[in-house]
Amino acid sequence: MKRALVTGAARGIGKAIATRLGAEGWTVALLDISRSDAEAAAAGIDGAVGLGADISDEASVEAALDAFGGPLDLVVNNAGIVRFGPLLDLAAEDFAVVTRVNLVGTFTMARAAARRMRDANVHGSIVNITSMNGVAPGPNGGAYGATKAGIALLTQQMAIEWGPCGIRVNAIAPGLILAGMSDPIYADPEIREARESKVPLGRLGTADDIASLVVFLASADASYITGQNILVDGGVTMSMIANLPRPKSVDTVGTT
C-alpha cells in the first residue's frame, strides 16, 4: 500500500486531500501543528494516523516522519498561514512568521521527505500547495503571496535537483475555494455571489477539486510531469481584463 503524508491536514483543503487519498487506497498520515486536531481528523479515515509537528522545525519534522515510519511515496505540503495587513503598516514579525511557516516549512518538510525517498530509492512525488495569490497579489495579503510565489520557484528548483533521483515535484495553486482559510470570506452571501460571477466556470472551487489534482499528480499518469504549478481556479486568474468595465457598445459582445 502506498504511503502519503499531508501537512496542515486537520481541516479544510488538507483534510479533504487526506480523506480523498484514504478513499483511493493510500495509507495516510495527517500532520498538523496540533497533534490532537490531526488525530481527530485522522480518526475518520481508514488506517490513517494523526501526527503533530512544526514544519519549520527540522527536529520536529524528523520526529514526525520517524513516527510514521516506512517508505514515503507522496508528501503534500499544504500547511500555510496568512497574516493580513497593509504593507506600509505590517509588523515585521508577521512577515517573518508567515515566511517561516509557508516557505521555510515547505522546504524543511520537502527536503526531509526527499532524503528518505532518495535513501530508499523510492520514485515518489511531492505536491506543494501554492495559491493564485502567488501569481496575482492580493492587496493587504502581507507576505502570503510572496511566500506562495517563492514556493512555486522552489518547486521548480526541487524538480531540477531531485528529478535525477526519480522524485517529481509539482505545485497546485488553488483559486477561490470554498474551504479552509477562505471559508470566512464566503460566509457573506453577497461577497460569495459577487466572486462566483467573476469565475468563468461560474462557481467557487471545492476542496475536492484540489484533491482530484493531487491524486492525478501522484499517479503514474503524471509520470512525466515535474516542476509545474497548476492553477485550479475555474479560469479566474486569467480573467482580469474581462473584469474591467467596457464601453456599452461592446459590453454585450460574447454574452449569451
Binding site: N121, G163, R168, L201, F216, D221, A222
Partner: protein, 260 residues
C-alpha cells in the same frame, strides 16, 4: 470520470500517428467513442483538413454530440528567420492556429447547445521558450495558448472548459532528430527526469483534462516535459568549483511510473 461512458464522443485531430494516435487510443480506452481526424490516411481515420472550414463543418454536422475535442494537428517548417518563406509562415499559422479555431467553432456547437464539454489544445514548450529556426511554429503555439484562454473565458460561463497540454521533448517515430543516438542521449540527459517523453506521457494528461477530475481546471497550460522548462540554468556552463545540477546522483533506471 465516474460518468456512464456509454456514448461520450471525443474528436482528435492529427490522429493518424504519433501523439495524436496515442491520445485517440487512450481516450478510446477511457470509454470514449473516438473520431480520428487527419489529412494522412490510417486505420479508422476520417479525412479532414483543419484548414478547410466547409469540410470541418460538414464532419461536425455528420457527428452527434461531441464531449471532448483535442486539437493536436500541427506542422512545422524549419528556416532561419531571414529566410522564412511568408507563404510557409501563413501555412503553419493556418494549420496550427486557425485550424483549432475552425474545429473549436464546429465541434463546439453541440457543446454550447448542451452546456458541457472539454477542449484540449496541444501546444508545445515552444510556446514558452524560443527555439532557433522554427519559423512560425513557436508563434503559432503561443497563439494557441492565448486562444485556449480566450475559449476558457468566453465559453466557461456556458459550461465548457478549455485547457492546453504542452509536450516537451517527445520521442515519436516521426521525430527524426531522435534517430541520432547521440542527440537522443544528450537531450534525455538535459531533462531532470533523465528521459525523453513518450506519446503516452502526453495522452495520459489529455485523459485527465477530458475527465471530470479536472472539473475546476480551465484556461491552464500543463507542460509535460519531465521538468525541462525549469532547466535553463542547468543547460548553461558553470564555473569550476560551483556545485552543479548533479547534486543528487541518478539512481536506477527510470520507469514510466513513479510507484516502483
Amino acid at each position: 470520470m465516474n460518468d456512464a461512458v456509454v456514448s461520450r464522443c471525443a474528436v482528435v485531430t492529427g490522429a493518424a500517428r504519433g501523439i495524436g494516435a496515442a491520445i485517440a487510443d487512450r481516450l478510446a480506452a477511457d470509454g470514449f467513442q473516438v473520431v480520428r481526424l487527419d489529412v494522412v490516411n490510417g486505420d479508422g481515420v476520417l479525412h479532414c483538413d483543419v484548414t478547410d472550414a466547409a469540410s470541418v463543418r460538414q464532419i461536425a454536422e455528420s457527428l452527434g454530440d461531441v464531449d471532448v475535442l483535442v486539437n493536436n494537428a500541427a506542422v512545422w517548417r524549419f528556416a532561419a528567420l531571414e529566410d522564412v518563406d511568408p507563404d510557409d509562415f501563413s501555412e503553419v499559422l493556418d494549420i496550427n492556429l486557425r485550424g483549432p479555431l475552425l474545429t473549436t467553432q464546429a465541434f463546439g456547437r453541440s457543446m454550447l447547445r448542451r452546456g458541457q464539454g472539454s477542449i484540449i489544445n496541444i501546444v508545445s514548450i515552444g510556446a514558452l521558450h524560443a527555439n532557433p529556426a522554427v519559423g512560425a511554429y513557436s508563434a503559432s503555439k503561443a497563439g494557441l495558448v492565448a486562444l485556449t484562454r480566450q475559449t476558457a473565458l468566453e465559453w466557461g460561463p456556458r459550461g465548457i472548459r478549455c485547457n492546453a497540454v504542452g509536450p516537451g521533448l517527445i520521442a515519436t517515430e516521426g521525430a527524426g532528430i531522435y534517430h541520432d543516438a547521440e542527440v537522443r542521449r544528450a537531450r534525455a540527459d538535459a531533462v531532470p527526469l533523465r528521459r525523453l517523453g513518450s506519446p503516452s506521457d502526453v495522452s495520459e494528461v489529455v485523459s485527465f483534462f477530458a475527465s471530470d477530475a479536472s472539473a475546476y481546471v480551465s484556461g491552464q497550460v500543463l507542460y509535460v516535459d519531465g521538468g525541462l522548462s525549469s532547466s535553463l540554468m542547468t543547460t548553461l556552463p558553470r564555473p569550476p568549483g560551483v556545485p552543479g545540477p548533479q547534486l543528487a546522483p541518478a539512481v536506477s533506471a527510470q520507469g514510466d511510473d513513479n510507484d516502483a
